[in-house]
Symmetry: C2
Subunit: 186 residues, 2 copies
């Protein structure tokens, strides 16, 4: 239950998770409920936007989109067309000692020692990879969940049914934007 | 001077800024010193990684790479081959009331009201776009700066010479990784 609640929480901020559309190549095992497989090549998709969730989740996120998604985001097309896939990657927030050493002197010159310390303590790079989530649009197949199928993979392994059951409810507040919280960042 | 110091500081954390290589299409006006132009289509490049710098910079950053860069990052190739271009996009950290309203109930269930408040206060999405920076590898053309040319554009307009003079010095601590701080996030 604890895990399920966290997943629902994580899924909510920013983006979500979905399977590969009929048109796209996919890899590996399918998720429960939505039957989503890892879309091939998603790691090369363009960036939609970035986000972060505070402690104790303490992650850094990037949302990537396939061609259909990118066109729709950029044109402001709503609802998203069938074939849209949005990927949410996430990593643990990590302090880079190396970056902070290099950044320190300039920060101190500007802010003094205390100010620099504050800035550095809030500066993060992406650490270890967390799960990957997808939203896949197929208005017929997923008619009962707003036209979206949701997926989550941990090291390529699909999340279980209990996890995936939390996705749609959390996305409902974004109904007027076709259940997608993320906005495109130019 | 104040602006220059900030730029140096901002450039330091994560990635940097560079012009288009001889092989790539470019747009608009060239930067001083390095003669770098905005690489055409950089906004569609794949993601290398993400990062954030604390207050008062309070930004969220994404590093994107052209094909040469992505191959080198993924293979761990050092030094980066000529033709490598790394883009650093940045946005102001912004609180999404909409996300937080949706995230709130699950956060409260897990963390209680105080814990949820803390999590939400540290949760950000990308707000207004800040400048865009590039690092372009050309070992002959930029031999005096480690083989890298640096660039920064504000709304498409190249930064001035004083700004660009700060780039290389700040990257020197990363000399053993060919002056690149950013690491690839799988």
């Amino acid at each position: 239950m604890r895990q399920v609640a966290w997943v629902g929480l994580a899924a909510l901020v920013g983006t979500i998770a979905f399977m590969a559309s009929a048109s796209g190549q996919t890899d590996g095992e399918a998720t429960p409920i939505y039957g989503v497989r890892l879309p091939a090549g998603y790691r090369d998709w363009p960036l939609i936007s970035v986000a972060t969730v505070g402690a104790p989740v303490s992650d850094m996120r990037a949302k990537l989109g396939n061609d259909v998604a990118m066109k729709a985001f950029r044109a402001g097309t709503l609802p998203f067309p069938d074939g849209t896939i949005i990927a949410r990657l996430a990593w643990k927030q990590t302090t880079s000692e190396e970056n902070n050493r290099a950044l320190g002197p300039a920060a101190e010159k500007q802010l003094g020692p205390e100010g620099a310390q504050k800035l550095l303590s809030q500066s993060f790079v992406a650490g270890s990879a967390l799960n990957v989530q997808f939203m896949v649009k197929d208005s017929k197949k997923y008619a009962s969940t707003g036209g979206w199928g949701f997926a989550q993979f941990d090291d390529g392994k699909p999340a279980d049914e209990a996890v995936l059951k939390t996705c749609f409810a959390c996305h409902s507040p974004a109904k007027d934007r076709d259940f997608v919280f993320t906005r495109y960042s130019r």
